[in-house]
Amino acid sequence: MNITVLLAVGLVALTAILILIFAIIKRKAVPSRRVIPAIDQLRQALDRSVEGGTRVHLSLGKGRLVSPQGAAGLAGLSTLNSLSSVIQSSDLPMVTSSGEPSLSILSQDILRLSNREHLGSEEISFRQSRLTGLTDFSYAAGTIPVISNNNVSTNVLLGDFGIEAGLIMESALRNNGTTVAASDDISGQAVMFASTGESLVGEELFAVSEYLNHTPVHAASLTVQDILRWGVIACIFIGAILKLGGVI
């Protein structure tokens, strides 16, 4: 094993141990988190949707699960898990769209299980969870009618989105709905920042499910992320000083 592999193994092991330790510590702790305006806006929009009998739409992006972008898709699915519990009392069931078949199938599974848990029936309509296209732009073009034809008032875009997110956001804005968006892609984030009132930046994409549905493991993973982030900052700072001093 070379030094890079050893460091990687060490990082993964350290993260796993820290998550377990903090999950035990935070088991009964009251959640204390910094305020993220976009998530507050999302909560209010969900309440309005339930009260107004309108629909919530979650778009999961196009991140293939067997690729580095899969993590963003999984974060979207984790949020779907939380959202489906929060808005079960709504008159209209939520709809999901995706540009990747595996995400579409998993989202159907989550909606089905949520229905079973809350309504006692596993039945969902095939229109509730759609694969809208297999290329970037066909996915965006296919998602536009989902937003405009289904009495949707809240749009959540969480996953791997590139610049094509601009088309989806434009449709959501024209529909006068609330839109909360996050992507793991830098260009997608720039588009989302310019197109929405509140957007989530960087790793906030992975924090949405914890903010909507608190569990000790989720809370622990957020704390561990903060610790690791300070570790990375320290490493960069020390590395820069060593480089300036001519040591490395």
């Binding site: 592999v5 193994v9 993964v12 993260t15 796993a16 998550i19 377990l20 293939r64 067997v66 993590a71 963003a72 999984l74 974060a75 699915l77 984790s78 898990n81 078949p101 595996s102 579409s104 199938i105 998993l106 599974d109 089905r112 299980l113 079973r116 848990e117 095939f126 229109r127 759609r130 694969l131 296209g133 297999l134 732009f137 066909s138 965006a140 610049i163 094509e164 601009g166 088309l167 434009e170 830098i186 588009v191 920042f193 310019a194 197109s195 929405t196 960087g202 790793e203 992975f206 924090a207 499910s209 569990t215 493991v217 989720h218 993973s221 957020l222 561990v224 690791l228 982030r229 990375v232």
Partner: protein, 225 residues
């Protein structure tokens, strides 16, 4: 209390079946995830072989999921057409063009001049026109940005975008010395690149904890709580 709940779970055949399904799927996910992760770091022949076998299965499953996804697209669009919705006709067109392209691809094979013609004359122009629509969308979004988010962050965003655009666009008077030679590379290669790296590092750390949560079975995107 715990024993009572457990008894309830297993005494109800429906709940018991679902719970067993959840346990099995969680166990498979954790086990295969661990094998792939350890096989990535430790070069033990049996682990490496298992890892590549699992990845092969994942690729085959992903290909099969594309087939199921195409079925989903077909069913949704056929139902739009048969229910007489206003965009039903477009749904029918989509189905016809999808199956004609599929049939031609199976008969003629990819790379045939007719297949190239379909992609170069239909698919490519349609996607390019969407790209053109997108540029107008961005322009409108930029105009509305200051109304939606008044503040220094939006002003910085717009000024930076403008400087990069002016620095990149060809000018009839030649290159602006300060803008093209210094300001644009400084913004793009120093400020933007370092900001982007910071964001990517944050996303990477979050993806790591997300993966570990799945390995622990705390997050189950394959269904179940």
């Amino acid at each position: 209390m715990g024993c009572y709940r457990l008894h309830l779970y297993w005494s109800d055949p429906e709940i018991g079946r679902c719970n067993l399904k959840s346990i099995v799927s969680t166990s498979i996910a954790i086990l295969s995830g661990l094998v792939v992760l350890v096989g990535y770091f430790v070069q033990i022949p049996i682990l490496v072989e298992l890892r590549s076998l699992f990845l092969d299965w994942a690729v085959i499953l992903a290909a099969f999921m594309v087939f199921i996804g195409v079925l989903n697209i077909s069913i949704v669009n056929i139902s739009h057409f048969t229910s007489g919705k206003k965009d039903g006709f477009f749904g029918l067109m989509l189905i016809i063009s999808m199956f004609v392209t599929l049939a031609l691809g199976l008969i003629l094979k990819p790379g045939h001049p007719i297949m190239n013609f379909i992609f170069n004359s239909i698919q490519l122009p349609v996607e390019l026109s969407l790209m053109a629509v997108l540029s107008i969308t961005f322009l409108i979004a930029a105009i509305h940005l200051l109304r939606r988010k008044p503040g220094w962050v939006s002003i910085t965003f717009l000024v930076t975008a403008l400087l990069i655009l002016v620095g990149t666009a060809p000018s009839p008077f030649g290159e602006f010395p300060l803008l093209g030679g210094f300001l644009k590379p400084f913004i793009a290669q120093v400020l933007a690149a370092s900001g982007a790296r910071g964001i990517i590092l944050g996303v990477g750390l979050a993806a790591l904890t997300m993966g570990l949560r799945i390995l622990f079975g705390a997050d189950r995107p394959y269904g179940g709580k």
